[in-house]
Symmetry: C2
Subunit: 350 residues, 2 copies
């Protein structure tokens, strides 16, 4: 497989430019101690959120982000016409149990850490095509529920290798609609195109090295996006992968350069590197479905609303990592989906 | 929650009537010993399919169904513009690893046993809206991989209670396209509408009783479908749930009758009851993502092609069953998505 040259044009264009009507980000205490502190809507007082299990805590964070996303723009949950959500837990139970609290039709998704962007792409298709409006796209992750499921319960105190990433505890939700709507307090960010990705396997077998497993897929999807749109990385203010971490980000830069895709380091960022500082003990950086979700719904969305970035390509990256498959000698394939946000000044009354 | 009265109209209408261009069903030996023997495209010689694990066997069945679906109508895999797939395994690895073999953008889905219909609904949206064409919708399950993951490895020889269901070993794939296409050897079945469902929880806590967990959701979605379309069950030749089994099917009839939805037993069938005979030791009947997939891609599709059924409403039913959540005292919510197939005589050259 040659990176970035899939046989079909994989980029979808949304002529109606679905509106990001509302965003909400909810995080745990550790995330709010990082460089993006202050950009999140809600900070939980503890990782347990007063629940009796990490799994229930994660669900509570997800429910909290959905409720806050709707209440920010005074949208009644009963008006929502579809809930697209997924998470890292087996049977995506955070999403399934959260969906139980809503009347909206529920589409469960699994794209590992690319799930947030997968939900946004399908949500944008629903809104742009006039099938469902408004729709809620959400995802969550939790450090302690993920460690227990994918590697070791943290009580085991296994040593973390330097290439490992720290799963973000939190949840992000986005409400997409055909029009900004009367309840919207803030207007102005739209989705104009998206490039869903294919599964790319570079034969990574280290279950701690998710960054290297995902980097080839990220480059593949970015290259396909620029090929399809006849644009170059310099055309966008921000290109954000989520979440490659330090190891994966460096590898992505190398791989991209190798196929002639020149990503400027100043505008090619990674949500896994943005969310924590190096002194927070997170090794290669942040990860998890919530990583790109809370960084977009917090920091990036605010940057765009302040017009400090007019365009942002968010490249959700996932590793199809299964502990069972690893034990059976399988490699860990990667997957990346890209979505383009633009500031929509047409709606700005200035 | 009152069954069948969600606040929004949840039924999507596909004006362009996406075509079911090809279907393929692959099953294990046990499935071919049931009443639908002869309706499947490929029968594996053993449940292990010469693979070293049940998980790898399941993936092989899924790949086989996808390849056969495409080759039946001479469609090159490189022409496929999206692969929508899911299965029951953690991280939906059957689908993720199968997708690695294709260049098409991959959307991973999880709706438990409703996943096949979830994939078809999203696929129909892609085709109808002109976003992707053609698209491949697929799902798989395997008795032995599912038992090991959700309950006990079969080597443990745990006794099965009578309400338990037997996960179907197999995979089904459907190719949807805007036009029947020059390669299509058989023409004539289209998708005209769909009703995605909400999560419904009737507080079932028995991890063996999936039928009772799913039946309320099935009735909820069917009632919403008939409310939205202003039709009644008598308007369709077949209404198929997949897969409630004996216990769930009886409960669904009762619940439906209780809200004034009169399902005639002669045309209200369940794929979990169709696929096995009572003497096959499957207790309440078949289940698994593959159950509705192989029964539709095999038996139902053939019935429609022979014009023995003009309309079929397929109601994919899933139980959001998580062993972890069960141990934490949670109930098992259900979810059901409905999709309407119709014979399209306009394309029939007779």
């Amino acid at each position: 497989m040659t990176l970035g040259v899939p046989p079909t044009c994989n980029t979808l264009t949304f002529a109606s430019r679905p509106h990001v009507v509302s965003c909400a980000s909810v995080v745990g205490p550790k995330e709010d101690k990082g460089p993006l502190s202050g950009s999140f809507d809600i900070v939980a007082s503890s990782d347990a959120v007063d629940e009796s299990s990490w799994e229930k805590a994660e669900r509570t964070l997800l429910l909290s982000s959905i409720s806050h996303c709707l209440s920010k723009v005074q949208v009644d949950p009963k008006e929502v016409e579809a809930l697209l959500a997924g998470d890292l837990l087996n049977q995506i139970i955070s999403s399934g149990y959260a969906a139980r609290e809503f009347d909206a039709p529920y589409f469960g998704l699994y794209g590992a850490c690319s799930t947030f962007v997968e939900a946004l792409i399908l949500g944008a298709v629903f809104v742009d095509g006039g099938y469902r409006d408004p729709v809620l796209c959400a995802s969550s992750s939790h450090h302690y529920s993920a460690e227990r499921q994918f590697r070791m319960p943290t009580e085991f105190a296994a040593q973390r290798p330097p290439q490992s990433q720290w799963t973000v505890t939190g949840a992000g939700s986005v409400l997409l609609a055909a029009t900004p709507g009367p309840g919207a307090e803030e207007l102005g960010v739209v989705i104009t195109s998206a490039t869903p990705g294919r599964v790319v396997d570079y034969d990574v077998t280290d279950p701690y090295d998710m960054g290297s497993a995902m980097a080839p897929a990220a480059v593949d999807t970015m290259a396909a996006h620029f090929r399809d749109t006849n644009r170059s990385p310099g055309d966008y203010d921000l290109i954000l992968t989520g979440d490659l971490g330090r190891v994966g980000h460096a590898l992505a830069l190398d791989l991209a350069s190798g196929i002639g895709l020149n990503l400027e380091e100043s505008r090619f960022l990674d949500t896994g590197l943005l969310i924590y500082s190096e002194d927070q003990g997170v090794d290669s950086g942040g990860s998890g479905c919530a990583c790109s979700a809370v960084v977009f719904c917090g920091h990036i969305w605010r940057l765009m609303m302040k017009r400090e970035a007019q365009t942002a390509l968010l490249v959700g990256t996932g590793a199809i990592h299964s502990p069972v498959a690893c034990k059976q000698g399988e490699s860990i394939p990667g997957l990346a989906h890209a979505i383009l946000f633009e500031v929509d000044d047409r709606d700005r009354e200035e």
